[in-house]
C-alpha cells in the first residue's frame, strides 16, 4: 500500500522535475533564437536603421557607467514625474471614487466629466496643457495625474456599488458612524478595486509620460530616446528603451505583488 503510494509520489515528482527542466530549456532556446536573429539581421541591415544586439549591449553598458550619467539621470527624471503623479492620482482617484459611490448628487454632477475624460485619449490633451502650463514638470505631472486618476475612481465607484448593501447594512445596524463606516468598512472592502484601478492606471501613466517627454524632448528617458532616434543612433536608442521596459515590468510586478497581498487580506 505505502510502497505503491511512494512509487506514485515518486513518479509525479519526477514528472514535475522534468517539466521544470523542459520549461527552462524552452525559455532559454527561444531567447537564444530571438537574440541570434536580432544579431544576424542587425549585421545585414543598414546601421542607420537597426543595430545588432551585441552593439546595443555594449552601448548600454557604456552609457550606464558613463561618468556624466545621462541614462541614470534620465531614469531619475522620469521617475520624479511618475511617482508623485501616480501618488496624487491614486489619492485623488480614491477620494473621487468614494464621493461618487456614496453620494448620488456627486455621482450625477461628476459622472458626465468622468465619462468624457475616461474616454478621451489622454495624449490628446497634451498639446492643450502645453499651452496652459508650459513645458515644465507641472505639465508632465498633471498629464500623469489625468492619465491614472480615472481608472482608479471608476473602479472605486464600481466597487462601492458592488459591496454597498452586503457590508454597509450590518455596520449601520450596529450603529457605526459615517466615519467608521468609511474607514473600517468601505475603504478596506474597496482596496482590491483600487489595486485593479492602479494597475490599469500605471500603463496609461507610463505611456503618457513618454509621449509628454517626446514633445518636450529635453529630459527623461523619453527625451533621450527621441534625441537618439532623430539622430539615427540606433544602438544608443535602445538603451532608454531597455530601461523603460525594465521599469514598466518592475512597477507592474510590485503592484501585482501588493494586489495579491491585498486580496489575501481583504477578500472573502
Amino acid at each position: 500500500m505505502t510502497v505503491t503510494e511512494d512509487a506514485a509520489l515518486h513518479t509525479v515528482r519526477a514528472r514535475i522535475r522534468r517539466a521544470k527542466i523542459d520549461r527552462v530549456l524552452i525559455v532559454a532556446l527561444t531567447l537564444a533564437g530571438f537574440l541570434s536573429v536580432w544579431e544576424i539581421v542587425g549585421h545585414l541591415t543598414n546601421p542607420l536603421f537597426f543595430a545588432p544586439v551585441s552593439d546595443v549591449l555594449v552601448v548600454f553598458w557604456k552609457q550606464l557607467i558613463d561618468p556624466s550619467h545621462r541614462l541614470i539621470d534620465g531614469l531619475v527624471e522620469t521617475l520624479a514625474i511618475l511617482v508623485p503623479g501616480f501618488v496624487i492620482a491614486s489619492v485623488m482617484g480614491v477620494v473621487l471614487g468614494v464621493l461618487m459611490g456614496r453620494s448620488n448628487l456627486a455621482l450625477q454632477l461628476l459622472d458626465p466629466y468622468v465619462t468624457i475624460f475616461y474616454n478621451t485619449p489622454r495624449v490628446a490633451l497634451i498639446p492643450l496643457l502645453l499651452l496652459w502650463l508650459g513645458i515644465g514638470d507641472t505639465l508632465k505631472i498633471v498629464v500623469v495625474v489625468l492619465a491614472a486618476i480615472f481608472p482608479v475612481s471608476v473602479n472605486v465607484t464600481a466597487g462601492i456599488r458592488d459591496i454597498s448593501g452586503q457590508f454597509t447594512e450590518p455596520a449601520r445596524s450596529m450603529n457605526a458612524s459615517e466615519g467608521q463606516l468609511l474607514w473600517k468598512v468601505i475603504l478596506p472592502a474597496t482596496l482590491p478595486y483600487v489595486m485593479a484601478g492602479l494597475k490599469l492606471g500605471l500603463g496609461r501613466a507610463l505611456t503618457t509620460v513618454i509621449v509628454a517627454e517626446f514633445f518636450v524632448s529635453l529630459s527623461g528617458l523619453g527625451g533621450l530616446l527621441h534625441a537618439a532616434s532623430s539622430t539615427y543612433q540606433m544602438a544608443k536608442m535602445f538603451a532608454p528603451a531597455i530601461i523603460l521596459a525594465a521599469m514598466g515590468i518592475a512597477i507592474d510586478g510590485l503592484l501585482t505583488y501588493l494586489e495579491r497581498r491585498v486580496l489575501e487580506r481583504y477578500s472573502a
Binding site: 523542459d22 520549461r23 454632477l109 485593479a196 513618454i210
Partner: protein, 275 residues
C-alpha cells in the same frame, strides 16, 4: 380578497415605477445643470482670457460647424478611424490565435509568455521612432503602433478564457472523438468570447492612444494631425474639435463592444477585466 390583494400589489408596483421615474428625471436634471454650468464657466473664462489660451465655448461650436461643412473634419475622422480599425482588426486576428495556442499548449506558453508579459508592461509608444524609421511616415507605422498597444490585452484575455475551460468540458469532447479543430470551434471558442470582448474593450482605449501618438509624431494626418496643427498655431477654438471627436470615437466604440458582447455572448458576463 385575492383580487383586492392583487390590485393593491399592482398599485404598489405602479407607485414604485412612478417614484423611480421621478428620481430618474431628477438625476437627469442635475446632470444637465452640471454640464450647463461648466459650459457657462468655459464661455466666461474664454471671454476674459486672451484667445491664444482659451476661446469661448460658442467659438468651438462655430469651429465644429465650419470644419464639418468644408469636409476637413470628416476626412480627418475617416483617416484616424481607418488606422484604428485596421490596427484593432490585426490585433484580434493575431492575438486570438496566439492566446489560444498559449492556453492550449503549455510549451507555447513557456516560450512566449515572457515576451507577452514584458511588452504588455512596457510603454510600447517608445518604439514609435523605430517603427517610423522602418515603415515610413504614412499608415504603416501608425497601424503598427496601434497593434503594439492593442494586441496584448487580447492575447492575455484569450489565454485567461482558455484557462477557464476545464477537463469537465474537454474530456467529454475528446472521448467523443472530437478533432482538435472541433474542440477549438465548439468548446473553447464559446467560452472565450466574453473574455476576448473584455480585452477588446481595453484595446479600444489603448488603440486610440496609439493612433493619436502616431499622428503626432509621424506624418501629421487625421484628428491628431489637425489637433497638433491648431495647437501650434494657437487656434484654441478649433483645437477642441478633434479632442471631442476623439472622445466620441472612444465612447462610441466602447459602447459598440459592450453591445456586441451582449449580442454575441449573452450567456456569460465578465464584469472584471482580466489582467
Amino acid at each position: 380578497m385575492v383580487a383586492s390583494l392583487a390590485m393593491s400589489l399592482t398599485a404598489a408596483a405602479t407607485r414604485e415605477a412612478a417614484a423611480r421615474r421621478v428620481v430618474k428625471r431628477h438625476n437627469l436634471a442635475i446632470r444637465a445643470g452640471s454640464v450647463a454650468a461648466l459650459l457657462l464657466a468655459w464661455e466666461i473664462c474664454g471671454l476674459l482670457t486672451p484667445h491664444i489660451f482659451l476661446s469661448p465655448f460658442h467659438e468651438t461650436v462655430l469651429a465644429f460647424w465650419r470644419l464639418s461643412r468644408d469636409g476637413m473634419l470628416l476626412a480627418a475622422t475617416w483617416n484616424s478611424l481607418a488606422v484604428l480599425l485596421a490596427g484593432l482588426a490585426i490585433s484580434v486576428l493575431l492575438g486570438m490565435p496566439l492566446g489560444l495556442l498559449m492556453g492550449r499548449y503549455v510549451r507555447f506558453n513557456w516560450a512566449l509568455s515572457p515576451y507577452v508579459n514584458g511588452l504588455y508592461a512596457t510603454p510600447t509608444v517608445a518604439l514609435l521612432p523605430v517603427l517610423s524609421l522602418w515603415l515610413g511616415l504614412y499608415a504603416a507605422p501608425k497601424i503598427a503602433i496601434v497593434v503594439l498597444l492593442a494586441i496584448f490585452p487580447i492575447i492575455k484575455n484569450t489565454y485567461a478564457g482558455v484557462a477557464t475551460v476545464g477537463p469537465e468540458l474537454l474530456e467529454p469532447a475528446s472521448s467523443m472523438q472530437a478533432s482538435e479543430f472541433q474542440i477549438a470551434r465548439s468548446v473553447i471558442a464559446p467560452a472565450i468570447v466574453p473574455f476576448v470582448m473584455a480585452g477588446l474593450r481595453l484595446s479600444v482605449g489603448r488603440g486610440i492612444v496609439g493612433v493619436v501618438v502616431g499622428e503626432f509624431f509621424t506624418a501629421q494626418t487625421g484628428l491628431g494631425g489637425i489637433l497638433i496643427r491648431y495647437a501650434s498655431s494657437f487656434h484654441t477654438a478649433e483645437m477642441f474639435v478633434p479632442i471631442f471627436v476623439l472622445a466620441g470615437i472612444g465612447y462610441g466604440l466602447t459602447a459598440l463592444v459592450i453591445v456586441l458582447q451582449e449580442r454575441i455572448a449573452p450567456w456569460k458576463e465578465t464584469d472584471r477585466d482580466v489582467n
